[in-house]
Symmetry: C2
Subunit: 220 residues, 2 copies
């Protein structure tokens, strides 16, 4: 098995490619050039080629890449092929919304269930995905060998909840809380601080009028 090595920034672009390719109707011409992809996604054409090459997809001059091949390779590489089970801890507004979101299936993700300490939230399972009490978390988690957890609890209990998740076998955490989680080296954390993102946006915007604050911001 070739241990393909991909840079982190490349890895984050791959879903972009996949999304775009999927958006093309299947009966379109079955082949596409790196140039076209680059133009659509406003990236450098060389970068696209490099990214695609890094996951061992190969194109032909004057022809480009077979779209179906690309999609297949991207999906397999990103693990969309094998269904990945995940749980959501904390079913407040945001957690509930994610739990009900139907679109994860396209990404090979299966949200198994939600968990919450609040009994009120745990009982309202009217036809939608079940929300369990936190006491049931350890058992269900181990039995189903869940590795992916989405953390949407209040900031105050974020770290302790995180510790609990790690303790019971969670290996990767999508962290929606604004706290920096401390985890063992073997556990992966991806932060999604929406408020911070908005703030960064507004900050970039702020100085956009009075002359460029961010370095290397605008790229053709």
């Amino acid at each position: 098995m070739a241990p393909k090595i991909v840079s982190r920034s490349t890895l984050h672009r791959l879903p972009l490619y996949l999304n775009y390719l999927r958006s093309l109707s299947v009966d379109a011409r079955t082949t596409i050039s790196a140039t076209a992809i680059a133009a659509a996604l406003q990236l450098g054409e060389v970068q696209v080629r490099k990214d695609l090459a890094s996951i061992s997809v190969s194109g032909r001059p004057r022809i480009g890449y077979r779209i179906s091949d690309l999609i297949e390779e991207l999906m397999s590489f990103l693990g969309y092929a094998d269904r990945n089970d995940a749980v959501i801890i904390g079913t407040g507004k945001l957690g509930r919304a994610l739990l009900d979101y139907a679109g994860f299936g396209d990404y090979g993700l299966n949200i198994v269930a939600g968990f919450d300490v609040d009994p009120f939230l745990t009982e309202r399972t009217d036809g939608r995905k079940a929300v369990f009490s936190m006491e049931q978390f350890p058992d269900l988690c181990r039995r189903m060998k869940i590795q992916l957890g989405i953390l949407t609890v209040p900031a105050a209990v974020a770290q302790e909840t995180c510790d609990l998740m790690v303790e019971h076998g969670i290996r990767a955490i999508l962290n929606f809380t604004p706290v920096h989680l401390r985890v063992p080296e073997t556990v992966l954390v991806q932060d999604v601080d929406i408020a911070a993102m908005l703030a960064v946006l507004s900050s970039r915007l702020l100085e956009y009028e009075n002359g460029m604050k961010i370095k290397g911001d605008q790229k053709r």
Copy 2:
């Protein structure tokens, strides 16, 4: 006015610092060293100093930085000081959750209202923030000089909705749809593809067992 120049990666770390500093109780020692911050956030101490220096905050040897000064500078730099109005377009599950989320205030953000084409969603304003019909968007948007928009519509209508936003004065978009938005150069877009993030996580996880796919992943 000094046109401070900050690298993009620095800009994304600044909210982290601010969050952490805020989490310290105010009656803690009023001063903190870059070393301490670095340890708490698991960053290099030099990097922390560089970041802080880039927003013109200055510390004293053996003492460190005054926490209150840091917080103040960070807030002003990130634009948390002046209230920033924002709107949410598309009030499905996710949009509704964000609309009801109370925590944005701490970030200087004020979600003014939501908009949606679906009349059913627009009428259910039981005590929460109002959701207006899309027809009212242009007027309200211009009158209140909204510059920030959160896009949470279905992928199929993402681009056209985006165009509408841009047309009516939105200057920065937080994009929750998985499509790559085409905007004029003067408009900023920040993508938040949750599904893709999960996929990236699971992908990193996947190869974490059979030997390192991602380059430069583990630090320290």
